[in-house]
């Protein structure tokens, strides 16, 4: 038994701890930049500009969207290792409709926009459905089921084109990666915002969202409470797959090419964002705001370390340390 006051404190830390960590990281990078300015090395603090901050949002858009799906899966006490591969597969399917070399069609808008989007979203959701059915109906551990999909989707990506990339994508399609709304907001950032907003509503305001928490917290109790756990789990993986499709569209449109190696090991960054954001891999616990700041922390770190000119190996070391640190803090908080 913990005293009530203690537990209230705990909840507030859960809410704001990640934001404090994020601000601390920003302050640290910014301070180092400021020192360089004072030393006269740089004319201005390049980290703390509106453009650079917008850039960070732009850069986390793909990982952020994957991490949203991962958040649902992790809360349901699962894991989805296949998001990177499914991203590549969906991106490849989108590109196969969006490439100019496919030939000209009378309704180019439909052909270059609607078909690629539908193809990617459908592909992503379908991979998610397979993951979900294997996990919920055949009771295979999510790690194994999605490891299978990680390999299978990568293979399918290569099979679509015999291993070749698809490039020369139509400008209509590329708008999803390179366009700007009102000439300022990058489209991927808008997508990121929309995905987070809709997912937040889904997780916090709908019956489905409550059920995801319940199933992840205790599947047996959820079942005796009348929750159709099979269907909740299946839809959770479909959602994660669908968002991999969205991320696939954005990455492909951003780089202008669907590559067979796209998204390799992106699942790890997505899991890192979710874990740094305070979700527990044991399930039942996690928040989208946490995930958002988790993704931001990774983004700021990549951006900051590039700006500060830190070698890539140290980047990897720092990221690794951060993930473990986040989990240690989390487990102490729960102890």
């Amino acid at each position: 038994m913990t005293s009530p006051t203690l537990s209230v404190k705990r909840i507030s830390f859960q809410k704001y701890g990640i934001i404090i960590a994020f601000l601390a990281l920003c302050a640290l990078v910014s301070a180092i930049c400021q020192i360089k300015v004072m030393q006269g090395v740089w004319p201005v603090n390049v980290f703390l500009t509106v453009n650079n901050l917008m850039l960070i949002l732009h850069q986390i858009s793909v990982n952020g969207i994957l991490a949203v799906g991962m958040t649902f899966v992790v809360i349901s006490a699962g894991i989805d290792l296949s998001v990177g591969s499914v991203l590549a597969f969906s991106g490849m399917m989108a590109a196969s409709f969006a490439t100019r070399s496919t030939g000209v069609t009378p309704w180019s808008g439909v052909y270059f926009v609607a078909f690629p989007l539908l193809a990617a979203l459908f592909t992503g959701a379908l991979c998610g459905l397979v993951n979900g059915l294997i996990v919920s109906r055949f009771r295979i551990q999510p790690f194994i089921a999605t490891l299978g999909m990680l390999l299978a989707a990568r293979g399918l990506t290569m099979a679509v084109t015999g291993g070749n990339p698809i490039s020369a994508l139509s400008p209509e399609f590329r708008w999803f990666g390179t366009g700007r709304i009102f000439d300022t907001l990058p489209v991927p950032v808008v997508f990121l915002a929309i995905v987070f907003a809709l997912a937040w509503v889904l997780l916090n305001k709908t019956v489905f969202g409550r059920y995801v928490y319940a199933v992840g917290g205790n599947e047996k109790s959820a079942r005796t409470s009348g929750v159709n756990t099979t269907s909740v789990l299946t839809w959770t993986y479909i959602f994660a797959g669908f968002l991999s499709g969205v991320a696939g569209i954005i990455l492909t449109a951003k780089t202008g090419s669907a590559q067979t190696s796209a998204g390799t090991s992106y699942e790890l960054d997505a899991i890192a964002a979710v874990v740094i954001g305070g979700a527990s891999l044991a399930g039942g616990v996690g928040r989208l705001t946490g995930t958002f700041f988790g993704a931001l922390i990774i983004g700021v770190m990549n951006n900051g370390l590039d700006i500060l000119g830190v070698e890539s190996f140290y980047q990897s070391i720092i990221k690794g340390a951060l993930i473990v640190l986040a989990v240690i803090i989390d487990s102490r908080r729960q102890a």
């Binding site: 390049v46 850039l55 780089t255 070698e311």
Partner: protein, 334 residues
């Protein structure tokens, strides 16, 4: 895309039937060990290997292996090639040191072994059919220096740290920069993007954010990363034509970018490497009577000589892709 697949399988099927029907005395069996199959360049090598006249006619039965980007997998596949009594082995190695085993195995079994595309740290192979990465790195940096008039700030996007590509192309990069008058060219940043377009895109964005208006040139140690830099420049609402950008390899997207005047690419000749190494391997199997069948020897007459197929090393020349030759090269990619 599907049509292409069907087409490919039809050619494959027909070549199989041909080889069965026309089979002369004894077709030569060649194992082609590729380090992986996910990049466009390796795909091209595979395609050109299969288009070698001797493969098409059925004189050669070619077995392709996918090393899955793992040196030990490739060593196992080398062993498998020896065990299945292939007549010759061509290897595009994953690792400069670890894959020397394949050369040793082949030599022990008395099978000719030709190394192509990448290098191995040994001289025991029958022959090497490669392109000199130092030269490639030199040519691309030279192109950037020429466009800048040897004046300005450049960034270098590197391959995976410690790999032979990064080391040798980097050496060539610095050689070209060093030919400029001292103090005129500054290397603002250099960092790896692991050959990846998406990583290079993020990296270049961050550099543009850090050095607003200061970067004049981008040296990508391969085309993919140069293309990532182009996307980053576009996403920052800057004009790509204000930058001098170059990459190495000559992948299709880079050829298109050259055509659009956005970059320079140094073509690494996948056909030269793939078909050249098959010719050298066949010479080793069939003996002095063998005459090379690939067109490449005629194409590079003057720059590259056959030398009776006995040279230890063949340097397949690089081609600087420009507006003059880009259309022709693009035509070949369809």
């Amino acid at each position: 895309m599907r049509l292409k697949l069907i087409g490919a399988s039809l050619t494959l099927a027909s070549s199989l039937m041909l080889s069965a029907a026309v089979a002369q005395a004894d077709p030569v069996r060649v194992a082609f060990l590729m380090y992986g199959n996910k990049a466009e360049f390796v795909q091209l090598m595979e395609r050109y290997a299969k288009e070698h006249p001797a493969v098409v006619s059925g004189d050669v039965i070619l077995t392709m292996y996918d090393g899955r980007y793992d040196a030990s997998v490739q060593n196992d596949q080398g062993q498998m090639a020896v065990n299945t009594m292939q007549d010759a082995i061509v290897i595009n190695p994953m690792d400069y040191e670890a894959n020397i085993d394949v050369v040793t195995m082949a030599n022990d079994a008395g099978i000719p072994i030709v190394v192509t595309n990448a290098r191995l740290n040994t001289t025991e192979m029958t022959s090497e059919v490669v392109s000199d990465d130092v030269q490639g790195g030199y040519l691309e940096a030279k192109a950037v220096m020429e466009k800048l008039g040897c004046k300005g700030n450049v960034v270098i996007i590197e391959g995976p740290k410690g790999g032979s590509g990064e080391i040798q192309r980097g050496e060539g990069n610095m050689k070209a920069i060093g030919e400029c008058p001292e103090g005129q060219v500054t290397v603002l940043e250099r960092k790896t993007a692991n050959w990846s377009r998406a990583e290079a895109l993020d990296l270049m964005q961050n550099w543009l954010s850090k050095h607003p208006g200061q970067i004049n040139g981008v040296i990508g140690q391969n085309d993919e990363m140069a293309l990532g830099a182009i996307e980053a420049i576009k996403s920052a609402n800057l004009d790509v034509h204000d930058f001098a950008i170059a990459g190495v390899d000559g992948v299709t997207d880079a050829l298109r970018a050259v055509k659009a005047g956005e970059m320079t690419s140094i073509l690494q000749d996948a056909r030269g490497q793939a078909q050249g190494s098959i010719d050298v391997a066949l010479r080793a199997v069939k003996g002095a009577d063998y005459q090379p069948e690939s067109e490449i020897w005629a194409q590079y007459a003057g720059e590259l000589s056959w030398d009776d197929g006995q040279a230890k090393r063949y340097d397949i020349p690089w081609t600087i892709v420009s507006n003059d030759n880009v259309d022709e090269l693009l035509k070949d990619r369809k």
